[in-house]
């Protein structure tokens, strides 16, 4: 067996190379052909340079948003699966997406023009909603229990998802047609950010979460033995579970505030990565973060081009790939 360090380096170089290549090529592909040379030609004023405008305003932020959201959801998926000891868990299992959706739709319906420090209300409210949802789940799972009960986490998460969906329908009843359309669009998951602001504002949170993920890699390996066995090997299980829950929830909330609840990334990517590199979280986590970035950016290119000049929300593409993939996983596990 090769050393762990060697496997990490190989995985980072391979998946990182793939991600970099995808991110570099993606902005060049689209319904309007553009020239890289002209886009990067600074002798022409920006306002007279349509290639540069398309490249830097329309496509590059979108591509970077895809990379950020993809890598965050994929690695948060790995952490949630490790925490719940359930390979079929997703970043949205514990209610993050339903809370985020409720927040976003409240903002879209009741405060469509509000903005805080240049950030529009919808992403802020979606982030607040996701934190509220996971906060409730966390309190339920840690009450009357030493550490976090994974069973209670799962049940509370499923219940929160159902309850928040009911609230969403309730609020939706008061929305007009335009708002309803916007809400539906938001729920599909869309990377049409057309500015760098959402990226810059979520980056610090994502960076902190990723630092926590790096610390979590070995604890997650031990947790797959079960909490008692992990504890006897010297792991502070309660602390590891708390760090995993909080960091993965924050990261997911941040990602959803940028791109909406883009489905299936958090389960497809970790599984494909495990098939390629094995189960060790020290390899799976960085590989999933990089592969997730490449995967979502590639899906976004498909969503922008498959029915061009129509631009489909990227969530439709990931769901069309993800649904059958999920079923295949279920059948394969037998």
């Amino acid at each position: 067996m090769r050393s762990v360090r060697g496997r990490i380096v190989t995985a980072v170089l391979t998946f990182g190379g793939g991600a970099l290549l995808t991110i570099l090529v993606a902005p060049l592909i689209g319904s309007t052909p553009i020239s890289v040379r002209r886009a990067w030609d600074w002798s022409v004023p920006f306002s007279d340079n349509p290639d540069a405008q398309i490249f830097f305003i329309a496509r590059l932020p979108r591509t970077l948003a895809g990379a950020l959201v993809g890598s965050t959801l994929a690695s948060a998926g790995v952490v949630f699966q490790g925490l719940l000891r359930n390979p079929l868990a997703t970043p949205f299992t514990l209610g993050v997406s339903a809370g985020a959706a409720l927040g976003a739709m409240l903002a879209i319906t009741f405060a469509p023009t509000l903005a805080l420090a240049g950030i529009p209300a919808a992403p802020l409210a979606s982030f607040a909603g996701s934190i509220l949802a996971v906060g409730v789940v966390y309190l339920l799972a840690s009450a009357r229990h030493r550490g976090l009960s994974t069973n209670t986490l799962l049940l509370a998460g499923v219940t929160m998802n159902a309850f928040f969906s009911a609230l969403i329908l309730f609020v939706q009843y008061f929305a007009d047609f335009t708002d309803t359309f916007r809400i539906l669009r938001w729920l599909m998951g869309d990377l049409d950010v057309s500015s760098y602001t959402p990226l810059v504002s979520t980056l610090p949170l994502v960076a902190v979460s990723f630092a926590a993920f790096a610390w979590l890699a070995r604890p997650l390996n031990l947790l797959s033995l079960g909490p008692d066995a992990a504890e006897s090997r010297g792991l502070d299980v309660t602390r590891a579970q708390r760090v995993a829950f909080v960091s993965a929830s924050l990261a997911t909330g941040a990602a959803v505030s940028v791109g909406g609840p883009v489905g299936f990334i958090g389960i497809i990517v970790p599984h494909l990565v495990r098939l390629m590199v094995g189960a060790d979280h020290r390899v799976v986590l960085p590989a999933s973060a990089l592969f997730g970035a490449a995967f979502l950016v590639a899906c976004d290119v498909v969503s922008r081009t498959v029915l061009a000049p129509l631009e489909l929300p990227v969530g439709i593409i990931t769901a069309l790939i993800g649904g059958p993939f999920f079923l295949w996983l279920l059948v394969r596990r037998r």
Binding site: S3, R144, W215, N221
Partner: protein, 271 residues
């Protein structure tokens, strides 16, 4: 030496152990027997330091486990749980290397010394040929041996060891195994005790196994120690009857006391 002093513990409002005192000298091979729900697993958890007694304490070489860091305790005491289900598909070697957790810094990875200790442990439990296999593809007996190897790797010291320093705790290691594997585990524990000088604490429902493998037995009933001492003194018809509420004969077979149950106490017909 591992010592429980007046250790009391409960889950929530349900008391499980009531002032258990127990001494496990370095190099001992101690069996823990008692009915279902008597508190054997809980006592093992207290001895391993993964649960803290609500009253009393557990001492390792005279100092309380609670005053030592988790990793310091884990470097001395390893646990083999009743059954091991992995959530993800690790290789056998990866599972054994997980035992090295307490010896590594936060971001450091296993080095050649850890790998050597892991392979020695695999060899000691006779499963070195399975190193590259996926854990999920192994039989129950093979899994058991891999988990024991992981526990050995956990308490192995790269600088060498003194006899009795390493403590291995096993919770019903033969519960799910067929006859052949049961004998295999018995001789494995015997060898680990004799060759590596391991201190071993093992809980079991199999009295033949307990009599054959252990030097000392501790009887636990209703969260209290009913009897403790050398196998011959503890495993008497009177005490086994008191422990399990069954009528038994104790016969001797090849130098081991063998408990033959014949009916539950208070009933006339043979059980």
């Amino acid at each position: 030496m591992l010592q429980a002093v007046d250790a009391t513990f409960g889950y929530g409002d349900t008391p499980v152990l009531h002032g258990v005192s127990l001494e496990i000298p370095a190099g001992a091979l101690v069996g823990l027997i008692g009915p279902n729900g008597a508190g054997k697993t809980t006592l093992l958890r207290l001895l391993a330091g993964t649960r803290r007694p609500s009253h009393g304490q557990v001492l390792l070489d005279g100092s309380p486990l609670t005053s030592q860091s988790r990793t310091a305790v884990a470097q001395r005491i390893a646990v083999v749980p009743q059954d091991s289900q992995l959530a993800f598909d690790y290789t056998v070697l990866e599972v054994v290397l997980m035992g090295r957790y307490a010896h590594l810094g936060t971001f450091s990875v296993e080095g050649p010394a850890d790998l050597a200790l892991a392979r020695t442990a695999l060899k000691a439990t006779g499963v070195e040929a399975l190193e590259g296999r996926m854990f999920s593809t192994l039989s129950g007996g093979e899994k058991q041996r891999v988990i024991i190897a992981s526990a050995l790797a956990q308490i192995s010291d790269a600088r060498g060891s003194s006899p009795g320093r390493e403590i291995l705790i096993l919770d019903e290691p033969t519960a799910a195994l067929d006859l052949k594997y049961q004998l295999g585990v018995a001789s494995l524990l015997h060898a680990l005790h004799a060759d590596r000088g391991l201190t071993i604490v093992v809980s079991t429902h199999d009295l033949a196994f307990a009599a054959r493998v252990c030097r000392t037995l501790v009887m636990i009933k209703d969260g209290r120690v009913l009897a403790a001492g050398p196998v011959e003194e503890v495993l008497t018809a009177r005490q086994v009857r008191e422990l399990y509420d069954v009528e038994v004969d104790v016969v001797h077979h090849r130098d081991f006391p063998l408990v033959v149950p014949h009916r539950t106490a208070g009933t006339e017909r043979p059980a």
